[in-house]
């Protein structure tokens, strides 16, 4: 299955043009500043707005010069920024609204599983007005999923939520992705959300795609603003390797080696992601044995990138199966005579672990 998207939006003082293929696996973030036209792209894919476009999902052409499939005939689900629950229906009524309208043989997402997956069992008979913001958005997500869509569109689903609800919804979105694996296009202008969720990134600015590709690839590209944030860094995918009861540690297998973190209650073998910030990584030419920093990854210098601060430099490191960034001083760069292609040891001072469990 593939999702081809070619689209042109022209309005007075605004032009947008996209020609891309959305990966069939994982979450693709459509990332860019407010006013970059991200929402219009989603609305066009859903058929809610009509612009010159060619949209093809698998063998089905949703739209081209001659065809325009109206929204209700597209196998797409849309989670809006505000939950937009139908106020005359209960939670269950909202969930069933789309579910019942999908022919039985096309329903590959089950009602009870989805209700459980989003933690809605206790809320089914509630009136939608009685729900908190986070609960409403969970209902909206479940409602969208229950149409068994070929493509899930999410338009800044966290924007109207408080921080606690945001964290919880992020976990739910993660979980949904792992269990149901529906190709998802996720619109956001938040760097932390793309780092947290996205597998793939399409960066929009001023109506143009300025870059697209695998998330860590773009997070470490020197010509893009992402690598120059104070919080620049990567999200490494790994698995739980072991638990160390004596020191209360959990050991993760990640590209480039192992990382030990404070003990987490996660099953061995479970997928996790580890957030490594550039400023928390220092480099050594000899494997440090006499250091309090125990997390050390094997790396090779891939590129040297000028940082906004002239005293600092960003080092893009190639790990075995990934990339990461280190931010060090120019003096250190010069003293160690670091250069592209050299083998180094990346000392990781701090790791944030993300998992659904």
């Amino acid at each position: 299955m593939s999702i081809e998207l070619k689209l042109q939006i022209e309005r007075p003082e605004f032009k947008l043009s996209i020609d891309t293929v959305i990966p069939k696996r994982g979450i693709t973030a459509l990332f860019g500043p407010s006013g970059a036209g991200k929402t219009s792209v989603l609305r066009c894919i859903a058929g809610l707005e009509r612009h010159p476009a060619r949209i093809q999902v698998s063998a089905n052409v949703w739209q081209d010069d001659k065809h325009f499939l109206p929204p209700h005939l597209r196998s797409v689900a849309y989670v809006f920024q505000e939950p937009s629950l139908l106020p005359h229906l209960s939670v269950q009524g909202n969930l069933e609204y789309g579910f019942k309208r999908v022919p039985k043989q096309q329903r590959h997402i089950q009602f009870d599983n989805t209700v459980e997956l989003l933690g809605l069992s206790a809320l089914l008979h509630r009136n939608t007005e009685q729900l908190s913001g986070g609960q409403r958005q969970r209902v909206a997500i479940a409602r969208a999923l229950l149409t068994s869509p070929q493509l899930l569109l999410m338009d800044e689903p966290l924007a109207s939520l408080d921080d606690d609800s945001k964290a919880s919804i992020l976990n739910y979105i993660d979980e949904v992705q792992q269990q149901l694996n529906i190709p998802t296009l996720y619109v956001t202008h938040s760097t932390s959300e793309i780092v947290r969720l996205a597998d793939h990134l399409i960066m929009l600015d001023a109506g143009q795609v300025i870059a697209e590709g695998e998330i860590n690839e773009l997070l470490t590209r020197g010509d893009l603003p992402l690598a120059h944030h104070a919080d620049a860094g990567v999200m490494l995918k790994g698995t739980v390797a072991a638990h160390d009861d004596q020191f209360h540690l959990t050991v993760l297998d990640v590209p480039g080696g192992q990382l030990a973190v404070s003990k987490k209650n996660i099953a061995i073998g479970a997928p996790v992601r580890a957030r490594l910030l550039a400023r928390d990584i220092s480099l050594a030419l000899i494997k440090p044995e006499q250091s309090s920093i125990q997390n050390i990854l094997n790396a090779r210098i891939h590129a040297l990138i000028d940082d906004a601060d002239p005293a600092q430099v960003l080092i893009k490191l190639k790990l075995d199966g990934g990339y990461c960034l280190a931010r060090i001083t120019r003096r250190a760069l010069s003293k160690l005579a670091l250069n592209v292609g050299m083998e180094v040891f990346a000392q990781v001072k701090s790791v944030a672990v993300v998992s659904n469990q």
């Binding site: 797409v76 937009s84 106020p87 005359h88 309208r101 007005e129 149409t147």
Partner: protein
């Protein structure tokens, strides 16, 4: 002072209720598409049409009645059309009363419906569309339920307003017992004949009906608000 209704007064009251019921039903069905269009359109003619719809609110009923008389009478377009189709002119007939009432009550149907459709649309319809509901399905499963308050308000207002019609009916329908003599005109007759007790009986019944209807609307509105499900 109050006497039991005479049979002709009972007939007048029944005629009023029949006229109000038929008028309410027809008007809601026929104006719903117009109200829907007014709620959605960006056409520049919209204010003109809204003004025309609102005209019966401010025109004296005699003016409406006068033009309807000309239009529906034997020499008017409407009357001639009826004769072409092999019928009689609609003046001084119950059918004529229905047409007159529909025009007289037009704004009472269109305005609440238009407001209801305006607030029952937008995002919720888009949500329904992405949940596989086609246009007709969306109208019945989203617009109508969300607009129910406006629809009930329109129905009650039209019904009550038709019961209270006087001038237009007098102009177009005259005062023919069991054909065009409705309660409001029968009351006028009784007062002219100084039969206050008969006027009283009919009047008090109209007051009771009107009050019950309005009480119903306000109670319903309150319940919708308490449920928090108002659009």
């Amino acid at each position: 002072m109050i006497s039991w209704l005479s049979s002709s007064d009972a007939g007048a009251l029944l005629l009023s209720l029949k006229l109000a019921s038929i008028n309410t039903l027809l008007l809601l069905l026929l104006t719903a598409p117009l109200a829907w269009w007014l709620a959605r359109t960006r056409c520049r003619l919209r204010p003109v049409i809204e003004a025309v719809v609102a005209l019966p609110l401010i025109l004296p009923p005699t003016v409406l009645g006068f033009y309807l008389l000309l239009f529906l009478g034997p020499n008017g377009w409407g009357g001639q059309l009826m004769q072409l189709l092999g019928g009689h002119p609609l003046t001084f007939s119950f059918a004529g009363l229905v047409i007159a009432s529909m025009i007289y009550s037009l704004p009472f149907a269109v305005q609440p419906l238009q407001n209801a459709f305006q607030s029952a649309g937008g995002r919720h319809l888009e949500v329904a569309a992405t949940l596989r509901a086609g246009p007709v399905d969306r109208f019945f499963s989203v617009t109508l339920p969300l607009a129910r308050r406006g629809i009930i308000t329109a129905a009650v207002l039209v019904f009550a307003h038709t019961l209270g019609e006087f001038g237009v009916i007098l102009m177009i329908g005259g005062n023919i017992p069991d054909v065009t003599q409705v309660a409001s005109i029968a009351i006028y007759d009784h007062v002219e004949a100084l039969d206050y007790s008969a006027a009283h009986s009919l009047s008090i019944i109209l007051v009771a009906i009107a009050f019950t209807l309005l009480l119903g609307v306000y109670t319903l509105n309150r319940r919708f608000r308490l449920l928090g499900s108002s659009p």
